[in-house]
Amino acid sequence: MKKSILGALAAATFLSPVAAMAETEVQFWHAFTGRLGELVKEQVADFNANQSDYKVVESHKGNYSETLNAGIAAFRAQEQPHILMVFEVGTATMMAAAGAIKPMHEVMADSGAAFDPGAYIGSVKGYYTSTDGDMLSLPFNASTPVLWVNRDAMQAAGIDPDTDLSTWQNVDAVLDQLKAGGEECPLVTAWQSWIHLENFSAYHDVPFATKDNGFAGLDTELALNGPAQVAHLTAMGEWAKEGKFIYTGRRNEGGANFRAGECALFTESSAGYAGIKSEAEFAFDVRPLPYWEGVGNAPQNTIIGGASLWVMEGHEADEYKGAGEFLSFLSSSKIQAKWHQDTGYLPITAEAGEATRIAGFYEENVGTDIAVIQMTAKEPTANSKGLRLGSFDQIRGIIDEELEGIWSGDKTAQEAMDSAKTRGDALLRRFEAANR
């Protein structure tokens, strides 16, 4: 082992002047700033330092939507990067663009880089896998919603902070107690559609949309107005009316309230870990996302949010080889385990999760493995594999609007979800027309 590293080093030293000239550039556009941006830069630098055939050039192109737009505009101008980061919401858009993307399994086969589809965690890769079982993009950062608990707030309201919060029935009772105990913000959430509809549906094994949530065809229709979803939103609407659920906005605005210690319970992505850990001046812990006992097959598994890396069409063979090597490098256990521990994102391979466990990380940072367990405890079903819906960014906007109608008491949950279905279906039909 040691010998081969030395050998490689020696070879690199001798060959590097020549190789530097023959280096093939691979463009990588991503959406990360701040700490995450630094970590991505580190990964790229690491890759570039460890081989000399390829040079990955990373550039930040704005937030998720802006990065996708930049990629699309660049493709239209025939200046697309080799690798583009696309958030999970844009997955269907990318999949439908057969002439614009080069599926990951093809890239890997052509490049000859190490690639074992079986190594990736099923519920993570499922989101980015075709119905034939081929991986189309590399999951990069994936998280799943969990329940964050402010233990001090529970105690202040006279509730045992270790109370079982695994079901919404239990949470319902606790919300009453919190309210009675003078808590002004018993429950707050981030990403309401993602957590309380998309993940809710997967977790209870009920469809969010027909045709296997869109996996089986573009002629999918929303099914989010089913009895399970409506019952949950009705309960949340009641909580909102009684001041037990506080609505703070469509994105993760609620995070500020929770981190400031103003709220007792918070449903948010597992990737909220870094922020909560650094800012919270109270005792907190993390629990699995609650489910309604007796509804559907809950608890099934939750689904992911985050982004994956797509390889774009229209480049040279040796550049694809470089892209393949880079994706293979990113999937390696060492890189993945570090990423998982640094960010709170899920490890994308089972091996990276195992490496993290062996390193004792989960014991030192209690609860950081809950997201992994929640995602992997059960084999995903057609309802919990993920979502593949066109125009999904806009559909989420529609869902947000309708949910606001419930929180403000203007609409019943049934009315709001029926309306969301009608409006969302109209967009799905347009997407179908555009991609037929």
């Binding site: 939507s65 737009n69 609505y247 309230n257 806009q394 929180w407 109209a426 027309a433 555009a434």
Partner: protein
């Protein structure tokens, strides 16, 4: 007898207007033509394929009750923004015009907000009215008013109107101030000698003399409120809560640049083009008659 200066020949005048014509063609006519062309198609985002749908995009839009409702929202928003950006500007200009000392300082201070980009202005106002840490919402809270623009549509509308108008006041102030300086002092002095008080002089002499400027600003501000306010709305409300701040131009932006639906977005641009064109014609036909140059 009007005195006219004319060029001999065609070449020089053509050369002189060429830059403006080229800019108009490249940056206005070409994109507008492309928008009209694209509004008849449903393209895929990557430009790989495009399906001709005739007026399909337009029927899709007008069959959507939420799109039709956006017209009402836009009307309310535009009227409010125009009023809120012109009336305070006129007031400030009149007040600054009466200053003898230090008017330069006031002027500079009042023009400053114009230098703030709309999106930044949006964030600024959002921060002040933030339901949790906002200064203004905190004071409102101590007065017993529970500010929550996240769920209250009226408050959300108020907030985007204020944020959109704020920077615009500076722009309008500049024009009003310059126009006020051009009002002949002799006329005002004569009126003052005749015993007309300040407000009477203002209503009967100054305001009519300002009418060309007011008219110009009216047109420009309406266009502004229709086209340039999506940055503010995007940062403050994202069109919500529900659809209470979704104005036409925000939908163009959201559907085109967030939703990648270029066909619908183009059709909406075309509709907006017609609406604003119509409004401008109406303004020139009816309002301009009351303007004295």
């Amino acid at each position: 007898m009007e005195k006219r200066v004319t060029f001999r020949g065609w070449r020089l005048p053509l050369l002189l207007i060429a830059p403006q014509v080229v800019i108009s063609l490249v940056f206005f006519f070409y994109p507008a033509a492309q928008a009209i062309w694209q509004s008849f198609f449903i393209p895929d985002p990557f430009g790989l394929s495009s399906r001709f749908v005739g007026f399909g995009n337009f029927t899709f839009l007008f069959s959507d009750p939420f799109y039709r409702a956006a017209f009402g929202t836009t009307a309310v928003f535009s009227i409010l923004v125009t009023l809120c950006s012109m009336i305070p500007a006129l007031f400030l200009a009149v007040v600054a015009d009466r200053l003898i000392k230090g008017s330069g300082v006031y002027r500079t201070m009042l023009i400053w907000p114009y230098a703030v980009a709309p999106a930044v202005a949006g964030v600024l106002w959002l921060f002040m009215f933030n339901t949790r840490v906002g200064v203004v919402s905190w004071y409102l809270g101590t007065l017993g008013y529970d500010w929550n623009h996240v769920l209250n549509g009226g408050e959300a509308m108020g907030l985007v109107v204020v944020a959109s108008s704020w920077g615009r006041i500076s722009y309008n102030f500049l024009f009003f101030f310059a126009a006020l300086q051009a009002v002949p002092k002799s006329v005002i002095e004569a009126a003052a000698i005749d015993g007309a008080r300040f407000w009477r002089r203002f209503w009967t002499i100054v305001l009519p003399l300002l009418s060309p400027t007011t008219f110009f600003l009216l047109v420009v501000n309406v266009v502004y409120s229709f086209f340039e306010t999506f940055g503010v709305i995007h940062t403050i409300t994202g069109g919500g809560p529900q659809q209470s701040t979704t104005v036409l131009v925000y939908k163009v932006f959201a559907d085109g640049f967030v939703g990648q639906d270029l066909g619908s977005s183009s059709a909406q641009s075309v509709i907006l083009l017609f609406v604003v064109g119509l409004l401008t014609i109406i303004q020139f036909k009816f309002v301009e008659k009351r303007v004295h140059y």
